[in-house]
Amino acid sequence: MQKLKTPDLQLLHDTNAPESINAQDHPFAVQGLTVAYHHKPVLWGVSYSAPKGCLTAIIGPNGAGKSTFLKAALGLIPKLSGETKVFGAPIKKALKNIAYVPQRSAVDWDFPATAIDVVLMGLYGQIGWFRWPSRKHRETALNCLKSVGMQDFANRQIGQLSGGQQQRVFLARALAQDAEMYLMDEPFAGVDAATEKAIVMVLRKLVADGKTVLVVHHDLETVRDYYSHILLLNGQHIADGPVETTFTSENLQKAYGGRLASTQLDGLSQASGA
């Protein structure tokens, strides 16, 4: 935790300040995150703390900085200001507690590796420098593949898998990392219906095990069915909280502005609500 000089404490009457609450309740707290590409702000002073043990969707229009938010919060891209704390510790020391699933397009799928090779990579952190994966590690990796229904494809070259299967492999790799916190960048992008269902199952299982999961999500129709919480972004923090109280046409209007018709908004916020 950051040591504060006494005068600062006078300013700490805001309940959102992560320092004022027990760090154990905040698996992932971001404070004042600002990111700019070519001197154009993409994210503007976003503060957010992910609810522990919940499945949260990050939603917002295109260019709202959803993926940027994940990457900058993890320190993977440079930021102008802001900081991230994981259970009160600076992000750099806590990266091993976090499994990050990048967008599928972020890697070269023509790489000479099989599905199980990729899942094993999730275990490299535990294996440590210089050592080679053991038989036990292979078994763990195979179990992770099993939990996403991919055990039959373990030895398939990753380039020969379908988009949905590749996404499942990525998910299995994240499972192998056995982290406290899961950050996923559009895992549902371009996957088939069966894969979508399988991914949702896995996400629910993670939450049931007490993990905290943050997912960049695109499809507003399914938000109510899949998630318990949301974070609405549009360059700035618009709103966050439980789906019932936050996924409102008012907030959506704020985030999406003129991009969603009002009838659409009403339909969404009432879909399966209350």
Binding site: P7, D8, L12, A36, S47, L80, E83, A274
Partner: protein, 411 residues
Amino acid sequence: MEQFFAALTMSAGYNTALVCVGAALLGAASGAIGVFVLLRKRTLVSDAISHATLPGVALAFIIAQTYFDSGRSLPVLLFGAALSAGIGVLAVDWIKTHTRLTEDAAIGTVLSTFFAVGMVLLTVIQSMSIAGQAGLEGFLLGATSGMLKSEAMTIALAAGLVGLAVVLRMKEFSLLCFDEDFAAASGYNVRWLDRTLLLLLLGVVVIGLKTVGLVLIIALAIIPPVAARFWTDRVPVLVAIAAGIGASGSFIGAAISASAPNMPTGGLIVLVLFSFFVVSLLISPVRGILAAALKHYRFQRIVHLRQGLLAIAHNEPVLEPLTRSILRKGGFMSGDGQPTFKGQSEARLIERDQKLWNLYREIYPEESHALADWSLKPIGQVLPADTVKVLEDELCPHLVVSTETPKGGAI
């Protein structure tokens, strides 16, 4: 030194002057064509082109020498070079499109294999014990000493022609680099334009072989445009500056080499060009390092100041040391971390400004995303007064909603 100034002022003899002018024309042409190659992000294709000339030069020499006894004829050698370089370019494209290998591997394969074939042929020439092979070595690193008048004339003329062609096709090339799809939609044959571009690049590479040498000729097409890029964002200006840098760098380099005949011309030209690059990188007021650092510094201050003031307005703690120190220096925060009176009032202003900006983003999402200054400057300085007026009118009823129910209510 004296000789250098003599060469520089073109008073060191007709031949030297011709060589220098030829080099300058070559530099101008390659700088100009290099701009488009850089903008197309295909810089290193020129590396494959230059190395792929060697087998052509060697083969042309063997054929011309054995059958016509004219192995040293520069046009013949250059024709051979162009032919094999053309095959090299096609080979790069073929590997890239028909195999799983990526462009970098394709370029590397072509440049090394072609060069190797050329080397084998060169050793064949050496052991064939035919006369007149001495000139071939100059193709590697460039040699202007002992260049014939006719050769210098050929180079100057060809470079001038290529430069002219670039100027004539400037509009089409700009379009190609800026928006390939739009160019195609406007009825241009993009594939053909691309080929023309590479053909002109091939032209300068081949012409430059004798002066700069095949290992370093690509620097002439890379360094001037990269250096020019620091000075401007407009394509015609970019072409002009790149051509200017290329011409003056090559002229000075050739002049130095004329005063010191043992020094390789190519190496000298590249070093002079690099010094231009370094100067541009450092001091250009447009995109140079110093200017960029200053711009970033200012930008960072603006962002931190604004966020600090917003935090004060929302009664949030300011934790970041940089923000705190900026607030203190501006007199918005006292030494003990409490906002001053000035800070409070400035914070109210900024808060209102931010609300207007947020409203703008909500109502006109597309425009606000395209706007570089979104929430960086006071809104009145960026948007026209009537737009701000509309936003202000709009803000009043919203003000109540946005402060009292931040979480919103289920419908």
